[in-house]
Amino acid sequence: MASYSTNDFRSGLKVMLDGDPCAVLDNEYVKPGKGQAFNRVKLRNLKTGRVWERTFKSGESLEAADVMDIDMEYLYTDGEFWHFMLTDGSFEQHAADEKAVGETIKWLKEQDIYTVTLYNGEPLNVSPPNFVELEVTETDPGLKGNTAEGGSKPATLTTGAVVKVPLFVNIGDKLKVDTRTGEYVSRA
């Protein structure tokens, strides 16, 4: 497996640290006066999602992590695993467990495309696109005429996600939602 020196640490680079795959978030060169140079590095542990701040001697290297981000189509869940399929025509399937799916579970819609992070060939994480379109299954009846301003109300979507929506939204409406904030954007 390749290794990367602190000079190569760029945002997004995947490396192994303490046995876990991590993504480099930030790399700051620090040099005390006339002393040895260091790199203060922020990394996200891809297994736990936690952000680590570590210092390395400049020039020190870390092993590359066998991590790949791949677009996959969500197929179905059997209750224990969530099944995804490669979109490259190979029909290769991968099963992600609850930990890998994590928060993304509330945005999962069959036949939509998600980014699946594979670590040693196994799904480590599933991230949704920035925007998803989902149908409303439950909300108070819409108010006619109130299309622009006014209050908001909760609406439950097909995936079980609950978002705050304007009062005019009805059951059966398709909504565009920002998955990064969990906020309603518009009617789709």
């Binding site: 060169y29 040099k31 005390p32 006066g33 006339k34 002393g35 040895q36 260091f38 390395f56 400049s58």
Partner: protein, 325 residues
Amino acid sequence: MEQTMVENTWQASASWEGLQQRAKTLSEIRQFFADRNVLEVDTPVLMRGATTDLYLDSISAEVDVMGQRETLYFQTSPEFALKRLLATHRKSIYQIAKAFRNGEAGSRHNPEFTMLEWYRPGFTLQQLMDEVAALVGPLLSVEAVSFHSYRTLFQQYLGLDPFTSSLEQLRQCCKQQTGCDMDRESLESCLDLLMSHAIEPSLGQGELTFVYDFPAGQAALSKVAEVDGVLVAKRFELYVSGAEIANGYDELLDADEQQQRFESDNVKRAVYGKPELPWDRKLVAALAAGLPACCGVALGIERLLMVRYGYKNIADVLAFPYDRS
């Protein structure tokens, strides 16, 4: 690819306001020294002697004059030339100089930067610290000044004594404070790491923080003296807003000692697999002829500008940083 790179990087990184702030600050500095009768001088950036410090890397140039080809070195600071000038004329001088350090690039570093360096014959370190405060305080609108010994800072922030702790204790403290594995590193490197990562970020908050009496191993070109039973380097550093911006010495005057330090630097370089460098024989000759007792200080202009105007990146105060040069 190459073409888009050029298209995106021809422009200056600093705003017009940033360039005006830079010009204003330099003119205020020149006025400060004019008022105090310190003469502005100019020395070469290309010199035959190189800096031998283990962790300072010079940039070299092949120079060909009348068929005579030789390697010259871009100055990592104007120190050697200024001291030779001082040994010649024995008067207070300053220079606003370009300095060059290979490999140093980051939000506070650029391989080419501007250094203000000045020398005061007859000054004590305390007098020089006071003068630095008189210059920097008004520029940064900071009135409060505090002075701490290196030792008391380590005791206060880390609960350990930098002069008497074992190497093992320091390495453990490094691991605990920063996660950095220093198990094969020297005592000096451990101290550097702790100072820069665990102490420096807290210094100079709303005040000018001067730190003095460094471990003798960090003497560089300063005198060494015994204080409270330990050997200390007679030098200081100034910290503001968590950044080091100036570094002052009670200058070493002893030519033999200076030569010995250069030679031992080269031995260390060899141990670390770095090329040995031609040390500055003219500086040693100047010391032998007699450098007046003096204190000198170097101040990073870009760092000062970043603190003064609240910039987070050195590119905001440079017209063209390294990636746009």
